[in-house]
Amino acid sequence: MAVTPIKFYQTGSFAVGGRLLGDDQRSVQSGRQRINSIDCGHRACQGCGEALGARYALDAAMRATGNRMVAVNATGCLEVFSTPYPETSWRIPWLHSLFGNAPAVATGVAAALKAKGRTDVRVVGQGGDGGTVDIGFACLSGMFERNDDVLYICYDNEAYMNTGVQRSGATPPAARTATTPAVGAEPGAVFGQGKNVPMIALAHEIPYVATATVADLRDLEAKVTRAMEFRGARYLHVLVPCPLGWGSASHDTIRIARLAKESGIFPVFEAEHGEIVATSKIRHRVPVEDYLRRQTRYAHLFGDPPRTDVIEKIQALADRNIRRFALLEEA
């Protein structure tokens, strides 16, 4: 992928505002032609990572497709907070059918467009981690296996938020949810369970798989843009902290997403045709404790006595990611 060096006009953070840059170098969000796929007035919680991620991802996809795009949505927070009938936040053609079928519905849209010879219009499917890794998983895998021309984006807030924060197959160990309460010998979600869908997607050897977080929105935009350069099945897994479910401060969403990446607990990488081609290196490595402490879903780890044993186990998971994906800069 060709890298265009851009000037950092903004210091003190890793973000590039871009308003001082020329149009071709600007981020999608600061671009004058930004479509604003998901408009203001939706009903997401303050600081909702999913709302933020969806807006950046879809706006980037819209730019990449010259605004010729259809979005298909699974049931979940994103669908519910964006379309309280008779209002809608979507300024793009948007379809919601069910909780477990968004990948297949997107396949149907792609098939229709293909039959109609509308190769210019592209399809994005999207859903939460529940709709993606659990109930919609068969449809997702089928869509990958057929290599349907769909970009599927999973907004991973690590639980079923829309129904009141219950465990999903993507809920991390030790996290408290309504169905993995912080009681008993092993409080929170148990270790050794969970589904790593980015790696499963990779194993399908589809053209493009990537992970991203809402801490690095420029990276998210770049990955969506890259994804739209491919035809066939593509998968993007975005970590989107949920203040309500994670018990974090609304203003901490970006910080927590960044800590997830900088601790190594959420590896950020890109893969093409089954091979990892790029990883986002950790810039300032932090212990997982810094990440965990900001979320009351892990509060039971910091009680009296603190569960240092559990924190160590989580640290070991992060360390494994760091080794496995070579997340540290070479010295």
């Binding site: 379309t83 009938y85 053609p93 229709a112």
Partner: protein
């Protein structure tokens, strides 16, 4: 032109002549030959442009059809039995979204016990899904109904299920005049969606609706379905004009005018019933048959008009509602509350419905209880009930029954 052809193949060709743009299905007996036929027609380029999507489940099949239809393509799928139930959530959803998908249901019993043969428990279980349901009597009608189904569905923006008895029709070879391409093209205009996913005019489809409007939205769906009571016969008339034969419509009467006993039924059993009625008439019994081609919406007025004068009505059903009785019967009762109505459940899981049994039941119509199971093996039931009463471990009921019949060699229980 009449051709000796398998029912499934006739349907596949009729569907292909409707130029669906997306066909998507998952195999299940006895539906398989239909989609195999379509797969071949698409792959060979005979049916083009069309995408044939091989999916991982029926749930995905209906979901693909939903996406395709919402994107403005004519979409078709076919299934049966467990497959229909597996896609149930999406079946309801398609109707709620007002998508004119056409689906063939090759009627088959639902397990357990697993049984691949014909009855109509599957489509009957989905009678409340908001789909128009048409039932074919013959393979000619099955082929013709599909052509009409696309037109009805698209006129009303409501999905249509064409139900044909599994094996009895799907696997039967008989002469069929498969509607020709030019005639179908003249009869069926291209699909023009009411609401479509189009970047040029973005719309949100499938929004969340709260209590303030949900009832109204559902009512509109009901009203749309009730409109079908005009559209279905109208399309049948226009089909008759274009193709020179009558198939479709709401109901079909056979020798009912002067009948004091009328049998109401749907599907392929109507042929056997007509033969039975002819024989009974020869013996001086005044019997007639009312066939229901359209079951959803229920053509209450037409049914009332057709059976109003009869002394009694026997509803012959290939499905039933456990704990209640006849499904169709309840609809007939609601349409004609004054009539004396008996439910006869017949042909479950593929059991043959013979003229002999039918004439016995109709000769005894005077003495029929409200609910009868045709050809029920009472001794088998009594033995099993006795076993249960004796408190002995009974094991799986179906297997006990089979053992009593000598159909399983091994000892069970």
């Amino acid at each position: 032109m009449l051709r000796q052809i398998e029912g499934s193949r006739a349907v596949a060709e009729a569907v292909a002549s409707c130029r669906p743009e997306v066909v998507c299905a998952y195999p299940i007996s006895p539906q398989t030959h239909i989609v195999e036929g379509l797969a071949e027609l698409v792959k060979s380029g005979t049916l083009a442009p069309c995408e044939f999507v091989n999916v991982e489940s029926e749930f995905a099949a209906m979901s693909v059809a939903i996406g395709a239809s919402a994107a403005g393509a004519r979409a078709y799928t076919a299934t049966a039995s467990q497959g229909l139930l597996y896609m149930t959530e999406a079946v309801f959803n398609a109707a709620g979204l007002g998508l004119p998908i056409v689906m063939t249901v090759a009627n088959r019993a639902i397990g357990a016990p697993i049984n691949i043969w014909n009855d109509q428990s599957d489509s009957m279980a989905l009678r409340d899904a908001g789909w128009i349901q048409l039932y074919a009597e013959t393979n000619q009608e099955a082929a013709d109904l599909h052509v009409q189904a696309f037109r009805i569905a698209e006129e009303l923006s409501t999905p249509v299920m064409v139900c044909m008895d599994g094996f009895v029709l799907t696997h039967a070879w008989e002469p069929v005049d498969v509607p020709g391409q030019d005639a179908v093209d003249a009869f069926l205009p291209p699909y023009e969606p009411r609401q479509v996913l189009d970047p040029a005019e973005p719309s949100s489809i499938g929004a969340m609706v709260g209590p303030e409007a949900f009832t109204e939205v559902r009512y509109l769906g009901h009203a749309r379905l009730m409109e079908a009571l005009d559209v279905v016969p109208d399309v049948a008339d226009r089909f008759a004009e274009a193709f020179g034969r009558n198939s479709g419509g709401l109901t079909r009467s056979y020798r009912t005018e002067d009948a004091d006993t009328i049998v109401v039924a749907l599907g392929s059993v109507l042929g056997t019933l007509k033969d039975t009625v002819d024989a009974l008439r020869d013996d001086g019994l005044r019997v007639g048959v009312l066939g229901l081609t359209c079951f959803r919406p229920f053509p209450a007025d037409a049914v009332r008009a057709a059976i109003g004068h009869a002394r009694r009505v026997v509803v012959l059903e290939r499905a039933f509602e456990p704990g209640v009785g006849g499904i169709v019967t309840q609809n007939v009762v609601a349409a004609a509350p004054a009539a004396e109505i008996h439910a006869v459940i017949a042909g479950l899981g593929g059991r043959a419905i013979t003229k002999k049994s039918l004439s016995r039941v109709l000769r005894e119509a005077d003495r029929l209880p409200p609910l009868t199971f045709l050809d029920l093996d009472r001794s088998l039931i009594d033995r099993e009930l006795g076993r249960l009463a004796a408190g002995r471990r009974s094991g799986p009921t179906a297997e006990n029954l089979l053992r009593d019949l000598g159909a399983v060699a091994s000892r069970i229980g």
